[in-house]
Symmetry: C2
Subunit: 137 residues, 2 copies
Amino acid sequence: MEISQVAKKSGVSASTLRFYEEKGLISSIGRQGIRRVFGPNVLERLELIALGRAAGFSLDEIAGILGNEAKPEIDRELLLRKANELDGTIKKLTAMRDGLKHAAACTAPSHLECPRFRRLMNLAGTGAIKGLTTNKK
Amino acid sequence: MEISQVAKKSGVSASTLRFYEEKGLISSIGRQGIRRVFGPNVLERLELIALGRAAGFSLDEIAGILGNEAKPEIDRELLLRKANELDGTIKKLTAMRDGLKHAAACTAPSHLECPRFRRLMNLAGTGAIKGLTTNKK
DNA sequence: CTACAACTTCAAGTTAACTTTAAGTCAAGC
DNA sequence: GCTTGACTTAAAGTTAACTTGAAGTTGTAG
């Protein structure tokens, strides 16, 4: 497959594919003239990368995890650690969500006068809720 | 208070405080010579900013929400929208976590042969799980 | 044969939220 | 009166994950 085929099938743009190759995340099976040729397993690999990204791994981490073997064996302990990390994130976000919902419904004249909102502010201020972002767009 | 006092009390570094001021997120009450002087309500303001960040607002969004009034009144509908957004994020992360936990425990010889792991990969690949990041460090 | 779309490389640009650096100001202590 | 340390500004640097741009190459359709 040519790069545009891979792009179309995977939903990953050609420039990103080149970027991923440069980073060692994927590799082409060879060249036809100057053009990259990819094997079909690159699609699986791209799904693994997407999975890793969704789980919160950086590209560098993913490169380390997947290695350069065709059939990567992923460390189960690592998965568990990441699952637990996600668990913590989920708990914090849940506290956040509940606090926001309350604040939206609260009858206090100002949010600043709502004790629950204050608690939430305090939580956020102390950094108890940290390391969370939702991407732009 | 001088900037270092605010930094110490809030846990926000002096350079960040200047940066926030430049962005219009906070403001000093005046100057003593060349040095900024902050009023006590800047601390509350910083907590609100931290709360907003934790909820996934960008600094620009927060600036828009808080305005430049001393006692900001925050749009309840906006809070609710953000709460719902968080709800979606939580659901995705939960699916993710469960998938990872399963994959870690799964007895299939390779993750690639576990149907549940494949489903997870597919989810991530289609972008059903998207717009999520956990910050570095 | 020639045009053209799709590829190629390499370098530089983008965004967010800061941090770092260089050069300067200023009040206080010795 | 000089040093010190905490402040000041403005500009440049940082990081991640890409995207964009410029300039060149190639297979194919007409």
